[in-house]
Symmetry: C2
Subunit: 186 residues, 2 copies
DNA sequence: CGTTAACCTGACCGTTCAAGTCAGGTTTCA
DNA sequence: TGAAACCTGACTTGAACGGTCAGGTTAACG
């Protein structure tokens, strides 16, 4: 019942992005994510590429570029993330909703193992498909404040300066949401 | 969140043993289990060895030998089986009760991912540590009867004969529960 | 008393996959 | 133009999974 490192890293990065967004910094460079979560940069890059291809994050190229969420935080569910990175939630394929496959047992309707695993799958999916990035970011921030822990992502003196000098604060470049997929399908 | 084949096979075999026991045949030879569940015999043997070492099944050697459960069916929980074969139930180690290990995040108390995964772990463990072989065997048998499906394990004409000729029907040999472990520890 | 059906046990093996690295792109800002 | 960032595919390496093999030991039965 393991979660892969890829999956773990993906969720950590996304949660970071959600929290940062809630604190007013939508765009984070790879380096910052990689450093905060102690994830090898090249590896995280790979994962973020996958997340971008799936339309979950967006990116801005060039200097001062970075990654941000491509959808509202309350529309990104953990089930979606894990399914993307690690595949079906179900412990065995014959109870998967998304990727059903027959198993070796001769009679699914009377398979004890199947009943049990269906229960497990439903419990897991129930949780993972219920909570969104918004939920987790919210609870986390509340906990941090309650315990008076200094918030992360209070940016590197750069945005702090912007605080003093208000205004429409730099025109925020448009982020690329989709990869430029030149697939030969009309 | 996958369950390994080993784990799957272990549970299938144990459920079979439980059902057979409920039907009056405690002892099943490897060949029968392997055939009914379509599991390579040598592989299943390996798994049963592991289950025996853990005191979950017992075995009888020699001709007409086989495997049976080493404990009452209502004292074998699925959590125990999976933990034995596949390791901890928790998706990530930092939420495991049985095999906790620290993860890379700097502050567990405020880790959003951890909260979520703890939820998942508890849901899974809640199910797997609640149901026993007795439960599943019970439900399965009831379903089979309800749907008028012929019960499995009505033995190979051998016990059927014993039915006709009653009596204390062979003195049921004692099964070895523990491996003869010659470990050098006093 | 030997044959045979069963369990016992460790060693081995091929494939897949996870985790991560590398090497070069391209884009944008200063 | 140079540096900082993202883009992308190819590669590597080690472990784990799923399974096989070989050679035991034990016990029933004719």
């Amino acid at each position: 019942m393991k979660l892969s490192k890829r999956g773990e890293y993906a969720m950590r990065a996304l949660i970071d992005l959600a929290i940062a967004q809630a604190l007013g910094r939508a765009l984070l460079p790879l380096s910052e994510l990689s450093e905060k979560e102690q994830i090898p940069a090249a590896f995280l890059e790979q994962i973020l590429f996958q997340l971008r291809s799936a339309g979950i994050v967006a990116s801005v190229r060039g200097k001062h570029g970075g990654y941000c969420l491509a959808k509202p935080t309350d529309q990104i569910r953990f089930g979606e993330i894990i399914r993307l990175i690690d595949g079906p939630l179900a412990p065995i394929r014959c109870v998967s909703q998304v990727a059903y496959a027959r198993c070796t047992c001769p009679d699914e309707a009377h398979c004890g193992l199947r009943m049990l695993m269906l229960d497990v799958r439903n419990a897991v999916a129930g949780i993972l498909d219920k909570y969104t990035l918004a939920d987790v970011a919210d609870v986390t921030l509340r906990k941090l404040r309650r315990d008076k822990v200094p918030s992360p992502f209070v940016p590197p003196a750069e945005l702090a300066a912007l605080f003093d000098a208000p205004g429409p604060a730099r025109p925020t470049r448009r982020a690329r949401v989709h990869p430029v997929v030149p697939q030969g399908q009309p």
